[in-house]
């Protein structure tokens, strides 16, 4: 946790972690709630972006409702550690891939690279994965589809931030 983030900052950011007030002037509304001027809040919010506290500022879509119906977690076995970066970048270059990471393998889990693949149908996602596998020459891979979603939320960092409990 970064020390330069004050309880006052956490107060302001608590108003940005959900959905903004749905009014014509959302930052003025937040300013009233935290006891600052609208200009001060806008300057703070821009500053938080420059400091990379947040990755982006805007709308998060419910993908199913926006037309992206299927997603699968592609897992790729790349035993040669030296080639993981190049292969990972190649897998990540597919526009249907939203996230791509290297993660640790272990006994019983021979996979090293993870890619979230999005499409209209499961079949389409499998087809994309096959094209990806051909592109990188990795044939030990799998695509894990979700059967049930038990929880999907955005992290409420500032509900539990030290110094502002109980607000």
């Amino acid at each position: 946790m970064k020390k330069e983030i004050t309880p006052r900052d956490a107060d302001i950011m608590a108003h940005l972690q959900g959905t903004l007030p749905m009014t014509l002037t959302p930052f003025a509304d937040i300013a009233t709630k935290v006891g600052l001027t609208e200009e001060e809040v806008i300057a703070k919010v821009r500053d938080y972006g420059e400091k990379k506290y947040y990755r982006r500022f805007g709308a998060t879509l419910r993908h199913q409702k926006a037309g992206f119906r299927a997603n699968g977690m592609g897992i790729w076995s790349v035993p040669d550690q030296a080639s993981r970066k190049e292969i990972g970048e190649k897998l990540a270059s597919f526009i249907e891939v939203s996230h791509a990471y290297e993660r640790p393998s272990f006994e019983g889990w021979p996979y090293h690279l993870f890619t979230m693949i999005h499409g209209q149908t499961e079949q389409e996602v499998r087809d994309i994965a096959r094209r990806m596998s051909e592109a990188v020459g990795i044939d030990k891979y799998d695509v894990l589809f979700s059967i049930r979603e038990f929880k999907k939320t955005s992290m409420q960092y500032f509900d539990h931030w030290p110094g502002r409990e109980g607000k």
């Binding site: 972006g49 506290y53 799998d142």
Partner: protein, 154 residues
């Protein structure tokens, strides 16, 4: 969702204007009045197309830590395990997936000690074997938006 909605979404997924009258700027880009732009965004929030409108905080940017975890849960006990896992506010995603490793979740915490303590607690409360911790080693991509093609557009 028509072309104007798509145009608005393409703009505001990454670039909601941080200024006094954001909907005025959105309207100016898509050719609507401030009120009309606001009403369109509000309708998409109300209908659930927009799940959230705000900042997407970065755990690392805030100095926190995050990880992906998996468990091998006996098939009849998935709901039981998912209920335990889902109680933790740091667990933001929790899915059953079709694999031997069948329960997957993400955990966000202020530090590594909290991650270890939480995973240990989940293991002992579930009593269904280890929680496998798979923190990121290398990041190749995080795509933050999905650009829509507009029917009549480019």
């Amino acid at each position: 969702m028509d072309d104007v909605d798509k145009k608005i979404l393409n703009m505001i997924q990454t670039g909601f204007p941080v200024e006094s009258h954001p909907y005025q700027s959105i309207g100016a880009v898509v050719g609507l009045s401030e009120e009309d732009a606001f009403n369109r965004v509000k309708a998409m929030v109300d209908s659930g197309v927009i799940r959230r409108l705000g900042a997407s905080f970065d755990s690392r940017g805030l100095g926190w830590t995050s990880t992906l975890c998996a468990m091998k849960v006996p098939s009849g006990r998935i709901e039981e395990a998912a209920a335990v896992v889902g109680e933790y506010p740091g667990v933001t995603h929790n899915y059953e997936r079709a694999h031997e490793f069948n329960l997957w979740f993400t955990l966000i915490a202020p530090d590594e000690e909290t991650v270890s303590a939480t995973l240990g607690e989940i293991e002992s409360r579930c009593g269904m074997g280890p929680v496998y911790n798979m923190p990121m080693i290398q990041k190749f991509k995080i795509k933050v938006d999905f650009q829509f093609k507009e029917a009549g557009g480019d």
